[in-house]
């Protein structure tokens, strides 16, 4: 069907709202869901992406209930395994807009193999992580992103060892788009996800989405205060990091070459981003914002010789249409 034949009916939030999830009142994930729905509406209503081309996936965890919050084509899978399914969908039909939802345990622990290889393959999907430092669904164990010292039911004396830093891994792996949003700033999050979806290649949007039930900082209880803890003690916007840390991070000679503002599209963005992430970590801070945007690399579909115009899923597989080719194939054995 040609694009001109498709008539897009504007959709409302209710059209893409599912049967809801088992999230606690005040959970950060509600903010992420709201932003995601906003982006889908914008894609369909303003960018003429047919709603039938949206495909959402998830694994296991609180965050992975996201497809239950939506009403779009979807696959809700097993723990850590949504990315390899997403690869199958994205290669099977590269015209689909693939959104994969995961959590910090789902993706950065049990799904780490798939996370790194999806990045390295540069499969054209957007991965949205609701990162809350704990396993909510299994009642509060520390996740790979739990910060040092965090006390949970599985780290009664405080988390020891290093947390996973997904941004650093994604940049090092060569992702096309690397960003971190926060669930309480919806407009910024909408912008980030929108840019991620429109970037050709693998896009990571790691979102701090606080757990109001199991993430306990000393002296902090309840929904509002944990958000305050993130705002006041944990996050550092990349723009602020750029302004505030350039003296520590860059030499005088380097500083003379730097643009005034952090530019995620500059050729140096990957290295600059990595250095700022490391510098922020020294003071216990995690960087937020868009760190990297580079869609110059070929995608996995391009490397495999398939495309939106040549999707395996829609290949004509009738024997009649392929008979000459099949006969050639069989004649070329030995």
């Amino acid at each position: 069907m040609a694009a001109s034949d498709i008539s897009i009916t504007p959709i409302k939030r209710a059209d893409i709202t599912g049967e809801s999830a088992w999230w606690c009142v005040g959970c950060g994930d509600f903010g992420v869901n709201s932003a995601v729905q906003q982006v889908i509406m914008s894609l369909v209503n303003e960018s003429n992406v047919p709603l039938e081309n949206m495909f959402a996936l998830s694994g296991i965890g609180c965050s992975s209930k996201e497809p239950d919050m939506l009403r779009v084509n979807a696959y809700q899978g097993q723990h850590g395994r949504s990315l390899p399914v997403a690869i199958g969908v994205a290669i099977g039909n590269p015209s689909l807009k693939v959104l994969d939802f995961g959590g910090d345990g789902d993706t950065y622990a049990i799904g780490m193999e798939h996370f790194m290889h999806s990045i390295i393959r540069n499969v054209n999907i957007t991965l949205i992580i609701m990162n809350n430092q704990v396993y909510g669904l299994t009642k509060g164990q520390a996740s790979p992103t739990a910060h040092g010292g965090l006390t949970t039911i599985s780290t009664p004396e405080g988390k020891k060892g290093r947390p996973v830093n997904p941004l650093r891994l994604a940049i090092a792996g060569g992702a096309a788009f690397v960003a971190r949003g926060v669930s309480w700033q919806r407009n910024e999050l909408v912008d980030i996800i929108h840019q991620a979806v429109n970037t050709n290649g693998f896009s990571l949007v790691d979102v701090f989405s606080p757990c109001v039930t199991y993430h306990r900082e000393p002296g902090i209880r309840g929904s509002g205060p944990i958000f305050d803890w993130y705002r006041e003690n944990y996050v550092l916007d990349i723009k602020d990091a750029w302004d505030g840390m350039r003296n520590q991070v860059f030499t005088d000679k380097e500083r003379a070459q730097l643009p005034a503002e952090y530019d995620p599209t500059s050729p140096e963005a990957a290295l600059n981003g990595l250095r700022l992430i490391s510098e922020a970590a020294k003071i216990g801070r995690e960087v937020t914002g868009i760190l990297l945007k580079d869609d110059s690399q070929p995608t996995m579909a391009e490397n495999l010789g398939v495309s939106a115009d040549r999707p395996p899923a829609l290949a004509d597989v009738s024997v009649e249409s392929n008979l000459a080719g099949y006969r050639d194939l069989l004649a070329s054995m030995r």
Binding site: M1, I6, E19, P50, L51, E52, N53, M54, F55, L57, K65, P67, D68, R71, V72, N73, A74, Y75, Q76, G77, Q78, R81, P84, V85, A86, I87, G88, V89, A90, I91, G92, N93, S95, L96, E113, H114, H117, A301, L304, G305, V306, R310, P311, P312, A313, L314, A315, V317, S318, V319, N322, L323, G325, Y326, R327, L329, L330, A331, M333, R334
Partner: protein, 613 residues
């Protein structure tokens, strides 16, 4: 049936395999039916003993024979267990009166250096077996001609061709194909071949008993292929357009075939990061609407169990070619085994519908792919084909394969037109897991106009795919997905039916599946020729097992032998579980040393049992 069997005993990297393959191809072109296999390939990349074997016959064959007529000995590995590790030297498998053709060079080059043949050490076995011994200084002849060491095998091929009356031009045609006519490598091989022919001629060597009366085939499409290649080709013809896999012996040839061929038909081959990833790629591609599959072996199949379970509850057509080998764990990676039947049928947690088929030779591997993909999509469930290492990796002569008869039936997968017709403008809503009269829900292609709620869910789910743990929902979906589906599958006429061989009135029966087919068929024939009536039921649908058919067969027998490559007697266990219960009538013939069964291996055990009873 007339024929002969050759064993090339050399060392990995010395060219033994290439030359035997070329000889086999030439024999095929001359009208012979051939079977070629790696008899001794160790799972390492060192230059240790290796053996590649060729059987040629004037009638179709599907496996090895017991003993060898000719042994090409490229070094002492043919007769000695140099490393003293319990290896049975191949010379013990040469038949009485057989031919021992060896490189009589005083000093061999790498990788055979230090393993020279000392014929005087073989006096005893030569006398005992009355061997006909032919020594050719192949290495020295090569050196004199300025050729490299790996061309020694070509001299041997020349000598055999001269002695057994194999057409020289037919052999040259295959060297030309392999190396390019007129190329330097071709010219070197040409000289070597001619020197082998001349040597045998000058010595007056002749093997009249091994001369096959062959009628060169016109061009009937007869080809040489292994089970992996045949299954891969069949998959493409059946419409497979996404292949995802991870390299593993003995399934890698499927991946390699797909890498070379699938893209020209609009498909993609994904070399996955692991079997865990590969199986999930298959699920994703299947949901996108592509026919998709993977191939693997035991350790990889273990990693796929999670995805198989997911395909079960999401009702996703998932096709897996399971190439079995000796286990457990890494076990015997390059050798024969059938220890994965239980895992194929009972693996993965949870109860769900599945179909498990088996193929017995490459032609079967090719044609069964039509049914595998149709069954997987018609019943929206994991569907496996089991082929064992011998079948997967041995080269058989296969009659011309015809793709024109394949039918692609995608079951209840709605095309955009069918979707529009069914749902547009009539108030009906598409539900992925709709409870329908026949118990099978509709699928659709994401991207089809109107398909906006195609929700596949590994959680228990409602008809429209949303998570639910309600009792009634669970009961309905489970009944539909498991009981109703398995009933439908049991009644499916396209499940491959068993094949029967031998004397239908015989009271001695064999039941087996897969690559045991060739050896058992020949064993049944030989038993018959020796006056012992026997028959053979070759199972092709392993799950669901057709209990009535198996019962009819076992009831008709006094004793039923169950030959299989499994110490745990997995097939016998399945038959007892599904059909007979514990039964003294069923007798296992178990081979679990990683080596192939041969007709004599089977007949001798039957004869022993007769004596014993």
């Amino acid at each position: 049936m007339a024929g002969f069997q050759i064993y090339g005993a050399g060392r990995a990297g010395d060219g033994t395999q290439t030359n035997i393959q070329i000889l086999g191809q030439a024999l095929k072109d001359q009208g012979a039916w051939t079977f070629m296999w790696s008899n001794e390939i160790y799972s390492n990349i060192q230059t240790r003993d290796t053996g590649f074997a060729l059987r040629a016959s004037d009638t179709p064959i599907f496996g090895p024979d017991d003993e060898f007529d000719i042994m090409e000995a490229f070094d002492a590995g043919a007769y000695s267990d140099e490393a003293n590790e319990g290896r049975i030297p191949p010379i013990t498998k040469i038949k009485t009166g057989g031919v021992f053709l060896y490189d009589s060079s005083v000093r061999l080059d790498y990788p055979n250096t230090g393993h020279e043949v000392h014929i005087e050490r073989l006096a005893e076995i030569i006398a005992a077996k009355k061997l006909r011994v032919f020594g050719i200084p192949m290495g020295e002849m090569n050196k004199a001609a300025g050729a490299v060491h790996v061309v020694r095998g070509t001299i041997a091929v020349g000598a055999i061709a001269q002695m057994a009356g194999i057409d020289k031009d037919a052999i040259l045609k295959r060297y030309a194909e392999a190396f390019g006519a007129g190329s330097n490598v071709y010219e070197i091989n040409l000289k070597a071949l001619e020197s082998g022919i001349e040597f045998a001629k000058n010595e007056g060597w002749d093997l009249p008993d091994l001369k096959l009366k062959l009628t060169p085939i016109a061009n009937d499409g007869r080809q040489i292929m292994n089970g992996d290649e045949a299954a891969a080709a069949g998959a493409i013809v059946a419409g497979c357009r996404v292949y995802a896999g991870y390299p593993i012996t003995p399934a890698s040839e499927v991946l390699e075939y797909m890498a070379e061929n699938i893209n020209r038909f609009g498909g993609a081959m994904i070399q996955a990061d692991s079997e865990m990833a590969a199986a999930h790629h298959v699920i994703g591609a299947a949901i996108s609407g592509a026919r998709s599959m993977t191939a693997t072996s035991g350790p990889g199949f273990d990693l796929m169990q999670e995805a198989i379970s997911a395909a079960g509850i999401t009702e996703t057509p998932m096709v897996i070619v399971l190439c079995t080998r000796g286990g457990p764990a890494t076990g015997l990676p390059t050798r024969q085994g059938q220890e994965e039947l239980n895992e194929a049928i009972f693996g993965s947690h949870g109860d769900f519908a599945r179909i498990v088929l088996a193929a017995s030779e490459p032609e079967d591997c090719f044609y069964v792919m039509e049914h595998i993909f149709n069954l997987a999509e018609r019943y929206q469930c994991p569907t496996f084909l089991i082929i064992d290492q011998m079948l997967a990796q041995s080269s058989y002569t296969v009659p011309g394969l015809d793709p024109s008869g394949f039918v692609v039936d995608r079951g209840k997968l709605l095309s955009p037109e069918q979707f529009a017709e069914r749902y547009n403008g009539n108030g009906k809503t598409f539900k992925r897991y709709e409870l329908t009269d026949d118990g099978i829900s509709y699928r659709a292609f994401p991207g089809t106009p109107g398909v906006t709620n195609y929700y596949n869910n590994t959680n228990e789910h409602t008809e429209d795919g949303y998570l639910s743990e309600e009792e009634a929902v669970r009961q309905q979906q489970m009944d539909k997905r498991f009981f109703q589906r398995m009933d439908l599958i049991r009644a499916e006429p396209q499940l491959p039916q068993p094949r029967y061989y031998g004397d239908s009135g015989a009271k001695i029966g064999f039941i087996s599946y897969g690559g045991t087919y060739g050896p058992i068929r020949e064993a049944v024939e030989r038993l018959g020729e020796a006056g012992t009536k026997a028959k053979f039921m070759e199972l092709r649908t392993m799950w669901p097992l057709n209990a009535a058919q198996v019962k009819a067969f076992t009831d008709s027998c006094d004793v039923v032998y169950v030959p299989e490559y499994s110490a745990g007697a997995q097939l016998r266990g399945l038959i007892q579980r599904e059909v007979t219960g514990p039964s003294p009538k069923l007798k296992s013939l178990l081979r679990y040393d990683g080596r192939n069964m041969t007709p004599g291996w089977i007949t001798s055990r039957v004869e022993e049992a007769k004596v014993g009873s």
